[in-house]
């Protein structure tokens, strides 16, 4: 017999308290007598009035002491060791997803899971080893295989839940893989089941699942599942916000949503929600200078992380394009026609005096520098260069033909476009052929050493392309392709999702900041940086520093917006092999505290009978 929660035996102290009660608080029954004349003299001899007397053993005291002792024993969770305490390798998989922060269990689901995981680790037979994995957006091995039980317990104590959506599949596969090759490998899953059932082949590994959701979980949870802001159709400088609220309650409810712009309260609206239904709210007339919007549910519920959501309004500056040409009417004209493009022209001889890094894109017309600038580049009328050698000219190649569904040719019709001659080049590995003529490349596009490059292998003035209706469309597509990528591709991400940060060319340091503190520092490189988004919901900024000054500040939001996590109803994890799934229990042990509880109940009935028999 082992005790899985030996601290429960502390309840035995209550027996001492019980005896103390019997010593100090003797319960006298009033009984009228004709006279206490004779009794009064007896009490002096018997000393019954003294507070401390030798405890008198009574059946009632015995029953009550046995009752308390039984309860203490049940609290200690006695178990019979059935597997002769064989050494095992236990992989403890702790669900750290957002729903584990739900407070339907006290203090929350994660703390319950941690407590049970501690019991498992504490109850491992001597010589066993353990591994602890925290599963949130992705699995995180907190403690690799070790027989150091104290370390395992310390790691469990240091673990915490995240706001990330759960994805237990990879974590479970990892856990099974870690347990598979070990003798008596076991996986203990502590989760509320709020995730998609993983496709898993347990392969002989025993998987123990301990569900954690409360009985009435989810009854009062509401979540902001979407927030977005768009320019108003009538006035594109002014935005309106769209918020969607989902209810997971079993009865109709009402949600009040407050919208804040740059931390100032703008408006609050309420929406009636049907059981399990959703409702949408539109907030118009937002301030013109608003940058960050926050929607907040005003009523508390079981899960806090889905009660707030943020979005960042996009306000882009015009794209500055530097045209290096000796004079090209078509190019100058078309660049001035494209919206949100601000063209600048410079002759080739003055190119050296220009800081090309200050422009968003550079267009070379008829010339090709030996070294390409670090900015996105369009080369029109390509000439022989070390960058892309020209083998010769192809004369009168025929009509241009677009290849595939290249986004550069969206809405562009090239069927009647002809060129007089083409530079004959071999397409480099980094470039793709967008259009060709007679099997010779005519337009190339690709990413060369961290910048995007588009090359027209013909002279516009030797083509009817500038005269076609497709020319401004093609140029708009090309400039859209070359446009400098934003520092952040998405202003709103999920907790723990992949985040792509594009460093500015001169950036020396990139800081990820949240809640007024630096969360992470990154060293910029020529290539975009990939990192994990924070696992806590909130508003964050990417601050890029160049020459000791702030070069750019880009805000982004981390929102939960995940129906699986917000739905707190009790769910059962379906693992592939039923015979490998246990809903509770411990390796090699059989708990028998329910029998103790039954015995205690019997004692309770006995005490009741004893009391009433006397009464």
């Amino acid at each position: 017999v082992i005790l899985l929660a030996p601290l429960g035996l502390l309840a035995l102290l209550s027996i001492a308290v019980l005896v103390l009660f019997y010593l100090l608080r003797v319960r006298y029954r009033d009984h009228e007598v004709g006279s206490t004349y004779l009794w009064a003299q007896l009490t002096r001899d018997l000393a019954v009035h003294e507070p401390w007397q030798k405890p008198r053993l009574s059946l009632l005291l015995l029953i009550q002491a046995l009752l308390l002792g039984g309860l203490a024993l049940a609290l200690a969770r006695p178990a019979l060791v059935t597997g002769a305490a064989e050494r095992v390798h236990a992989v403890v998989l702790l669900d750290g997803s957002a729903s584990m922060s739900a407070t339907d269990l006290t203090p929350n689901r994660f703390e319950r899971a941690r407590a049970r995981a501690r019991e498992v680790v504490a109850g491992l037979p001597d010589g066993s080893t353990g591994t602890v994995i925290l599963a949130a957006a992705r699995p995180d091995v907190l403690a690799a295989e070790t027989s150091d039980r104290a370390r395992l317990l310390a790691v469990l104590d240091g673990a915490g839940p995240t706001d990330a959506p759960g994805d237990l599949g990879p974590a479970l596969r990892m856990a099974v893989a870690l347990a598979r090759d070990r003798a008596n490998g076991q996986v203990h899953v502590f989760s509320d089941g709020a995730f998609r059932t993983p496709d898993l082949d347990a392969g002989g590994v025993r998987v123990f699942y301990q569900p954690l959701a409360g009985e009435d979980a989810g009854v009062d949870n509401r979540a902001i599942v979407a927030i977005d802001a768009r320019p108003e159709p009538q006035n594109r400088r002014r935005h309106q916000a769209f918020v969607r609220v989902q209810s997971y309650a079993a009865q109709a409810t009402r949600a009040v949503v407050a919208l804040r712009a740059d931390d100032r309260l703008i408006d609050s609206q309420s929406v009636e929600l049907a059981p399990g239904g959703s409702g949408s709210l539109i907030f118009a007339d937002l301030p013109l200078d608003a940058r960050v919007l926050e929607a907040r549910l005003l009523d508390r519920d079981a899960l806090a992380s889905d009660d707030r959501a943020w979005t960042v309004l996009e306000r882009r500056e015009p794209t500055q394009v530097l045209l290096v040409t000796r004079g090209n009417m078509f190019l100058e004209r078309v660049l001035s026609l494209i919206p949100d493009v601000e063209p600048f022209r410079v002759p080739p001889r003055r190119l050296g005096a220009i800081d090309d890094g200050a422009y968003d894109a550079i267009v070379f017309d008829g010339i090709v520098p030996d070294v390409l600038p670090r900015r996105p580049t369009l080369i029109v009328n390509h000439q022989d260069s070390p960058f892309l050698p020209v083998r010769g000219l192809v004369r009168r190649p025929g009509a241009l033909v677009g290849l595939g569904d290249d986004p550069l040719l969206r809405y562009v019709d090239l069927r009647d476009v002809r060129v007089t001659r083409l530079a004959d080049v071999t397409p480099p590995g980094w470039a793709r052929v967008v259009a060709e003529a007679d099997g010779h490349p005519a337009i190339l596009a690709g990413e060369y050493e961290g910048r995007r490059v588009v090359i027209f292998l013909f002279d516009l003035q030797g083509s009817n392309l500038p005269l076609s209706a497709s020319f401004p469309i093609l140029m708009a597509n090309v400039l859209g392709y070359l446009e400098p990528p934003r520092a952040l591709e998405q202003p709103v991400v999920r907790p723990g999702a992949a985040l792509r940060v594009v460093p500015r060319p001169q950036a020396e340091e990139i800081r990820l900041e949240g809640d007024g503190a630096v969360v992470r520092r990154l060293k910029p490189s020529a290539l975009p940086l990939a990192l994990d988004a924070p696992t806590r919901v909130g508003l964050y900024t990417i601050r890029q520093l160049a020459a000791g000054e702030v070069a750019s500040v880009d805000a982004f939001a981390v929102n939960l917006a995940d129906a699986e996590e917000s739905d707190l109803h009790a769910r059962t994890l379906a693992l592939p092999s039923d015979d490998q799934v246990r809903t509770t229990g411990l390796p090699g042990s059989r708990e028998f505290w329910p029998l103790v509880i039954v015995a205690v109940a019997g004692l309770l009935v006995g005490e009741w009978w004893w009391f009433h028999r006397r009464a």
Partner: protein
């Protein structure tokens, strides 16, 4: 007292007429009575007959009557002395308790003894006692006063605590120089019982003590007759004993040790009263409230030489 139950049944009254109160008193009286006086033989007039009783002078037997009827009768003369009988009954609140109730038993016993006195033409005084002596009933004599006696006893109620010393002392003073036979019926649960009895003795009263107790006072842990289990006490009880007279309470664990101690204390107490009576030539008789009245009168009191 149960209102519907007479204190004395007619049949019992008829049997009681054969008894008389024993007394060594030698008094002289002016009225009729059935006690022989030392002054007999001079200026005497025949007054009545009565049945011969053990102890009567055989010379007073009327042999003529015996010859006619076959029964022994003695002659009674006008100058025979009257015996003053003082029935002093404790009516304190401690008496109004117990199963059967001690006060009811005391009333019945007083009625029986009083009727014996009336039937023998003794001069009867009946007085209730609690903190002091109550209004005295009497003097009564003759059988026709029995109704008055019984009405008086039936009207008594227990209201106050006991102070036997003060009550008996007060009564002794009120009797002046006319001593008689004083019969005290009480539970004697009063610290001053000895003072009270001494006061009577000082006034030269001949004393008879009827110590009336209920079964629970004799054996505290025994089930009370006629009482429910819930109201009784038993070994192992934790009891707060509340004094019916004073309201004071005593907390006690009724275990074997306590019961033994009580038994010792009880024997000590009753022994002290009995020794006091024996020392002063008084009759002492302990009567339990559950004892039948006939048994008490015709066996217990006769055995203890209170009645003859």
């Amino acid at each position: 007292v149960n209102e519907g139950t007479p204190l004395l049944a007619a049949e019992l009254m008829h049997r009681l007429e054969r008894l008389q109160l024993r007394s060594r008193a030698r008094t002289s009286g002016l009225s009729h009575g059935e006690r022989r006086s030392r002054a007999h033989g001079s200026s005497i007039q025949f007054a009545d007959y009565r049945e011969y009783a053990v102890g009567d002078d055989p010379r007073l037997v009327d042999w003529n009557v015996y010859g006619r009827s076959g029964h022994l009768f003695v002659k009674l003369f006008e100058d025979e002395a009257l015996l003053g009988v003082h029935l002093l009954v404790d009516v304190s609140r401690s008496m109004d308790w117990g199963e059967p109730n001690k006060l009811d038993a005391a009333r019945r016993l007083a009625a029986a003894l009083g009727y014996v006195a009336l039937a023998r033409f003794d001069r009867l005084y009946v007085a209730p006692l609690d903190e002091e002596v109550g209004p005295t009933l009497g003097p009564l004599w003759g059988r026709d006063q029995a109704a008055k006696l019984i009405d008086g006893l039936s009207g008594w109620r227990a209201h106050r605590a006991t102070d036997l010393g003060r009550a008996l002392g007060g009564y002794a003073r009120s009797t002046g120089r006319r001593p008689g036979l004083a019969i005290v019926i009480s539970d004697f649960l009063s610290p001053s019982w000895e003072d009270g009895l001494r006061a009577l003795l000082r006034r030269r009263h001949e004393l008879a003590v009827v110590h009336l107790l209920c079964p629970e006072e004799v054996r505290p842990a025994a089930p009370a007759a006629g009482s429910s289990q819930a109201g009784g006490v038993g070994p192992g009880d934790e009891l707060r004993l509340i004094d019916r007279e004073t309201g004071r309470h005593v907390e006690i664990h009724l275990d074997a040790a306590a019961l033994d101690a009580y038994a010792r204390r009880f024997a000590e107490w009753t022994g002290a009263i009995e020794r006091f009576c024996a020392h002063h030539g008084a009759a002492y008789c302990r009567v339990d409230s559950d004892a039948a009245l006939e048994t008490t009168c015709f066996e217990t009191l006769r055995h203890r030489r209170v009645l003859a």
